[in-house]
Symmetry: D2
Subunit: 369 residues, 4 copies
């Protein structure tokens, strides 16, 4: 029932449907004293909004965020922050004929089975637009993490069969990655970005769609973050990222490759450097035993291809009848470029919550204040 | 801080260290009226306990579970169920020399960074023994799911480079899978099981270790289970399985392969059969939009190779010094065969919790009772 | 940090300050299929809004509620419901001089100690206006309870020294109570209501304020609601009602009087009537062992006098200086009449959440749906 | 369903029935580095155990606590602490004839209505013995609070009609209160204690029972603790104390008396003293707007008379028949003296949890550690 809240201390509750008047979120537990304004949040939202690239959908939303509470004279007060984004560009007539038919690969049938009623317009609550609220919250979390010396960035590592060369992303700094992935497919290599765009157009002309992979790297995380045994850092990141629509696999560090390696290859050895523990490799992706070890955290999210394709498909409808469906509308042939900032936002939210929870882990760091 | 509880309605809290007197769990929220006894739980625990196979560790624990509360005249009362498993076979002297040294690939350093103190014997709380408590709880969850017509089974699909043939597991029923995977590596193909065992012995002789993959299939789940947008079924399963030590990747349905497919290939089409919606393929792995669609749920967990290898490794110690470490003791060259039932347990616990939460989703299924 | 959410399954998150642009709440976990519209919620909000009586404040807010999500074609979809109420009548200049001074009896000093920053206008988040959002959510909860045959009503039983005669409220039906308490002080006895109004005017002329008592009766609750041992029905109602600003005591059933009685007087005896258990007395107030027993639930909330009085008071300010303060503005000489519907709302929300949680208590009432 | 856990960061889960083999609790989230041993916990448990006074029950339990996890070399490790107390003195035959009959004033009927099954021996989970586990956890919480300079003590202020003189307790220091209440009724005045004991014997001879009032004072709490709007300090203390069996009313500060006072009487004025805010009176009981203000916290719990009396009573049984019941066994004529330390424990647990949560309230007190 109550599945739209995430987090224990920095708690984010999102609301809103694709064709409702607005969508938004409430952040309950944001520390007081953070400089906050819509201008500080808009850049992250702009990385998500449709219409900015030829690779994505044609629906144009400005996604301008408004702050309705929790900020006073430019700083957070510690009270709940209500963020609102108005839907300005919904076109109901695009969806009218889908009221009763279950689109293959979408959640339509599942929502009807669960609730007995669904807002079918634009996918209702299951629409990807719902993620705009998450990005607004992720933007706030990112600001706080930055104050604590923690930086993160997500980018596309693959679209369809086009993949970044091995080790390419790892060789770039976060700053370089951000700059290099400022293109319509968010791939930090100009060469692969061009190939990917070509592949996207090919899929579009074939009335088909593509999947892909988004990777997120987080630097500056101190060792010790994560709450064994169930709220381990990788477990919470896993939940956070799997909750993004379209994600069918999540990897930490070497991920799938680790399962094929030997222990002698996979263990990360360490040595001391200026009084700090330094890891010589990072197969673990910055997490051991569910707790951060100080090395960069590395996570990858694998997205299935966009379900909305313009070919005729076999399906059933609400009346229990077999039927054929051809979708019209404004759909992304690939969602990964827009999902990249959502992956980053969910990582930021999840990490911040665990960071805050770590405050009380040791008697020698407690105070009665 | 409080990361050892899982679940909202069927809540499992585990406790216990590898070398403490015992370990156990408390199940808070088990429905009343379930027939329950240690005999009903022991079989699942027996699938985990060390010493049953040549592939695993030599530490022999009986893992006999005791029920201390929550059961009366053979049935659950609805009050918290306390399950306890005594540690009988700890040998402290095996670990004494590891008090200050951080074993590569283990959580030692992270626990010290987080808490400033750690029980180093046998890995303390980060030891795999902690999962015995999870399996006890998973056994209870499985009994309830069975009453509701839901069955699940986990098995090994890969150890190192030895993998089941494509489509092999899918061709077997859950019953056949259970029977066929009753071997030391839990692989449901005799041919691959033999190859895997040979590979394990090879790794053992090389003082190295192997990773692998465990898959879990769940049948009989009605459509509609999962709580969007953050407590989606795949998100909660993801957290549950990532929380198992050694897991570095989780896949749902086609998982990683979905990211490389086209929409026309990945969408599962459906038709009606005797008034029920039947999916013709199951690339989705039984979950769409984070909610079950009635098709079998398929999940895979990828395990990194066991960190404890008997070669000399570079590491650091508590005093900030570089050092070399050679581990002795009783360690699994591969943990996947023992982790299989843990994956199954976590899936059972996660699914049951969401199933219970779904009770209140619709006005027409509510009652004031 | 994250203290603005209440409930486990029917979860209410409120946001908003007295002088912000708006305030509101998100209801996460409302069952689908409930008929819902602003018109259905407005009556309960109207029972709260200032300006309706001479006994309360002069600030005139319409408190019109808007539904931004979670409703489709007049019915709830099961997705989060965002309710918003705009602040239209804030006058900042009334408060400007209170930026640094801590008003006695208010939370000003505490908020500064906690957060280091506070929105001082109109009391910011600690203002009673925050309760408007709770009433909006309570109105939704009440609609659901009504569908389940459960009705509740709160009313004033005392203002200052003016108290209803013993047994008076108990002799009226809920319907009669509602009708009889439709007066500016919400007291269901015309005689006491008149005395109370006179007392209020007397206090106002003396630049002083009054406290009082609100009672809530709930009928139709089935036996078995409440989750021992910590989420007992009385414990959760207690938290819910104590969270309302100004509450300094909560009683269940005979409350304080029970502590002075003998067991032979306090035990409620029962007998069978048409196959149902009927209690001959109700000293328990409908709750035994933290679980409802089917008898009407009775709860009383005691409110301290409104802190804002127009006399000069000794206090301190943000700069650590002793100072004198005389408040101006639009303040209630007594808040109880407006708090009555807030008490009712919190009881509705708390009860509904526990009712939903009770769904999974027994195997014989579970289903896999 | 899952109502046996309390707390968000310092989470306590209790388990166990009156006639089961044992009862206990798991503390999840105890900070690491606290010196802990059974000897440090036993004194608080000894204040609760039956048989220590002529005023209470004759059942003799040693209530010796064992620590099964979470402690290493005398200090907490930050991992879950499992505390166990064996039941040694249950006598089943005392209860055998109550298998089907619902004892008036007890939760028997409610448990059957809720679960359809109940362990009737000794009241099962609804027995007061369940509180032993809470006291064990409260003892741990008290140790931590003490390290943070916070001390608390609960004591009896009334038994039946015997009440401490007005202002008496307030005139004693916590140390004096502790010493003075070391008598069978825990009343810090020898004169009233004697009268109370006499009253208890009178009730016992009349085969009746008495209620009473326990008060808890907490000193050293810094200003700023409590999470508006729902997890306010008084709201959480209210839930914690109402969850104790037998509590029918809870007061904070002046409580009920506040509702009868004027604002000019009830507001606490303040002035500066050595750079600290000092309140000249404490009608608020240390809490304003749900947040601590630095003054001593004062809470009172009102207990109904023990339901188990030895007179014949009218009631019903499981078969829907009217019947008469005369209880035998070993019952307290008054439970308040034993409940005093339970009130103190619940206050300690609740306060500690909110204290830990306050760590993240402000950016200027956050660190990435």
């Amino acid at each position: 029932m109550s599945g739209s809240s995430f987090g224990k201390l920095f708690r984010v509750t999102t609301w809103g449907e694709s064709h409702g008047p607005a969508l938004g979120c409430v952040i309950d537990g944001c520390p007081a004293g953070l400089r906050l304004s819509p201008e500080l949040l808009q850049p992250m939202l702009d990385r998500r909004k449709p219409g900015t690239s030829s690779a994505t959908t044609a629906r144009k939303e400005d996604d301008l965020v408004e702050i309705l509470s929790g900020v006073f004279e430019g700083f957070t007060t510690g009270t709940p922050i209500s963020l609102l984004i108005r839907n300005t560009s919904q076109i109901s007539k695009d969806y009218g004929n889908l009221a009763d038919t279950y689109r293959p690969g979408h959640a339509d049938y599942c929502y009807d089975a669960k609730y007995g009623i669904r807002d079918y317009r634009g996918g209702g609550r299951s629409s990807g637009r719902e993620t705009a609220a998450r990005v607004a919250a992720g933007a706030v979390a990112s600001l706080i993490l930055e104050e604590l010396g923690i930086r993160l960035r997500a980018y596309t590592t693959a679209i369809g069969s086009v993949t970044l060369p091995e080790g390419f992303a790892a060789s770039l700094s976060l700053k370089e990655l951000a700059a290099a992935s400022a293109n319509p497919v968010c791939m930090p290599s100009a060469e692969e970005a061009a190939k990917a765009l070509a592949l996207v157009e090919e899929a579009r002309s074939e009335k088909d769609s593509l999947g892909g992979v988004a990777e997120c790297r987080i630097e500056g995380v101190p060792a010790g973050i994560g709450e064994p045994v169930f709220d381990k850092l990788d477990a919470v990141l896993g939940q956070a990222v799997f909750s993004i629509g379209g994600v069918k696999a999540v990897e930490i560090g070497d991920g799938i490759a680790a399962a094929k390696a030997r222990g002698s290859e996979n263990n990360d050895c360490s040595h001391m450097e200026n009084g700090k523990v330094v890891f010589e490799t990072n197969h673990a992706g910055g997490i051991l035993g569910g707790i951060s070890n100080g090395a960069p955290i590395l996570l990858r999210a694998h997205f299935k291809p966009t379900p909305s394709i313009f070919r005729e498909q076999k399906t059933v409808n609400k009346n229990g009848e077999d039927t054929l469906l051809t979708i019209a509308g404004r759909h992304d042939p690939v969602i990964v470029p827009r999902a990249v900032v959502v992956v980053e936002s969910m990582c930021a939210i999840a990490l911040l919550d665990l960071l805050l929870e770590n405050n009380g882990s040791r008697m020698d760091r407690l105070s009665g204040r």
